[in-house]
Symmetry: C2
Subunit: 338 residues, 2 copies
């Protein structure tokens, strides 16, 4: 047994040496927006290890599952989640048909642009906004509404379309993983039908590889034509403990690589880490006030209502073989076009 272990250890060292040689040459080609350093090396070394046939860490292509959170991991989430910006815009668009909203919270605050008032309405207020803007229509109608909005909405700070504010280094990472026969999934707290209309075009991730939160739906045949109606009740919240459950339900295999950026991603990475073989777990840390946003509250950065990265998570990660990606230090470029 000890001979076997030693032999495995030797093989591991051999692969690591091979990988180290490969890192500098390969990484420059495949991850051009990543600065050289430990995180870029970790990615390339991991991918090399699990794709090296005969190596101790080899994983067959079908089991190379990678999961990415979306908000704050693949695209921005400040000053608020994109889907919340969508919901607030929808309230304004729909207001002429709802004169009663002028005197009813949380709509009154939304229409007055009073975000503190919206926040004061709490979870109940948020649910009322979601119900009013995300339900009562068919899935096809919602897809059109979301797509039309995405085509014209602009970020308040950059003036860019939200789909232009995806992270170039992560696009390269997705492509790199796919080129190495990983099956790449989004596992997001965001609404599954809010993401699906554009994930294939922007990320190269097709609808069936998008896992997200969902509301209840109902199959209705109207005048002989079936439609799927969106109802005003949550079906599944794909956050925290929900993420491994969503992965199990939707994918049915455990990821070997998982990427997030907040406390809501902890369980997803924990689930990936608990697999039998090697795994890669990375959290994006938004520490780049100049080029994007800086928020934590970990490491003394300002707190945030969206995508919170608590100090406890940062401390916890230090005791694990997880990587924290510093947006400031690790990313040469943030968006596809600067």
């Amino acid at each position: 047994m000890s001979i076997f272990l030693r032999s495995t250890a030797r093989a591991t060292i051999a692969v690591m040496l091979l990988s180290a040689t490969a890192v500098s040459a390969v990484a420059q080609d495949v991850l051009p927006s990543w600065n050289d350093g430990a995180n870029k090396d970790s990615i390339v070394e991991f991918v090399t290890a699990v794709t090296t046939e005969g190596g101790p860490d080899y994983v067959a292509p079908g089991d190379r599952i990678a999961t990415f959170d979306n908000d704050g991991t693949l695209w921005g989430e400040q000053p608020m989640y994109v889907q919340l910006a969508f919901a607030l815009d929808r309230v304004k668009t729909m207001a002429p048909d709802h004169p009663e909203w002028k005197d009813t919270e949380p709509f009154k605050s939304v229409l007055a642009g009073d975000m503190k008032g919206v926040a004061a309405s709490g979870k109940k207020g948020l649910l009322a906004i979601i119900a009013a803007t995300h339900s009562g229509m068919s899935t096809a109608e919602f897809e059109k509404i979301a797509t039309d909005w995405m085509a014209t909405a602009r970020h308040p700070k950059t003036g860019k379309a939200y789909t232009e504010m995806v992270y170039q280094p992560m696009l390269e990472l997705i492509d790199y993983l796919k080129a190495n026969k990983f099956e790449v999934f989004i596992v997001s707290g965001g609404g599954i039908e809010f993401m699906r209309p554009w994930t294939e075009k922007i990320y190269g991730i097709p609808t069936q590889n998008v896992v997200g939160s969902s509301i209840k739906t109902k199959y209705v045949v109207k005048d002989g034509t079936p439609v799927i109606m969106r109802e005003a009740a949550f079906d599944f919240i794909d956050d925290k403990e929900g993420k491994p459950l969503g992965i199990n339900s939707h994918i049915g295999r455990r990821p070997i690589a998982s990427f997030g950026n907040s406390g809501g991603d902890f369980q997803m990475l924990q689930w990936a880490a608990a697999g039998d073989g090697r795994s890669l777990k990375m959290l994006v840390f938004h520490d780049d006030a100049d080029r994007e946003y800086a928020y934590g509250p970990a490491d003394g950065l300002p707190d945030s209502k969206f995508g919170t990265f608590p100090q406890s998570l940062m401390d916890d990660v230090k005791g694990r073989d997880w990587n924290v990606i510093s947006m400031k230090k690790d990313w040469k470029q943030i968006y596809p076009s600067q």
Copy 2:
């Protein structure tokens, strides 16, 4: 507009003529277990039409979604659903640890082999059997239990393993669709975690392409190790109206080809039929008492508790462009090895 229509019609006819020529040559190679005839021609003509670039019915690869029911469509479902046979066997295996079952229905009837008694316990009894045999363990434990059972269980009539009782013509159809860049999914009323351990090996359909009924799950961290526990409550029933909802939730695109065999598949095929372009909708009719089973009650065949094909469905299909596959006439061979 009329010129455009005529031009489209001409193109359609041209493609049909091309397809008719192609049918005999291609079909013999790709669907050797299908007898020549209208149904085989329908399949090949449809696939040719949607994959012919520049043709009026062309569908891009990413939108070539095909969905298959499992029980009665891809494998047998008589004398009872395979999963029910599993559940009944589990009750027997678990009985020594549950002495109280000797006096408690529906377990008493199960242990006595009294299927009428089991049936008499109704839906409540069935739920009790499912709860006792399908919950209370982790997903990993359930996968092992299901896999071990599948490796040793044998069909009461043929003596074959259940995974040997998949339909050879459907295996060929799946391969043919995949070769033509279809993304193939199972959409079954069966338990999603009961199917996933073997669908890739037997059908070439990976876990993430399996949609099924599910029970509630819970993420639990035991001694620092996370597990997903199976709870004694249904989460989603993937049958009838549930099928299009499961397709929407899991796949996010409408199938252009859909295959079933019973009333439980009607809505799935109806959903496929309601798409914008061409679609293929096929129902397997079990009319082969000699080589498999014959049941309806449509067309005067005996009624069945499992996979019922009612006369109303047969009548309804006649008014639609759906195909009914006669197992007796259309299939040269039933199982992979005869």
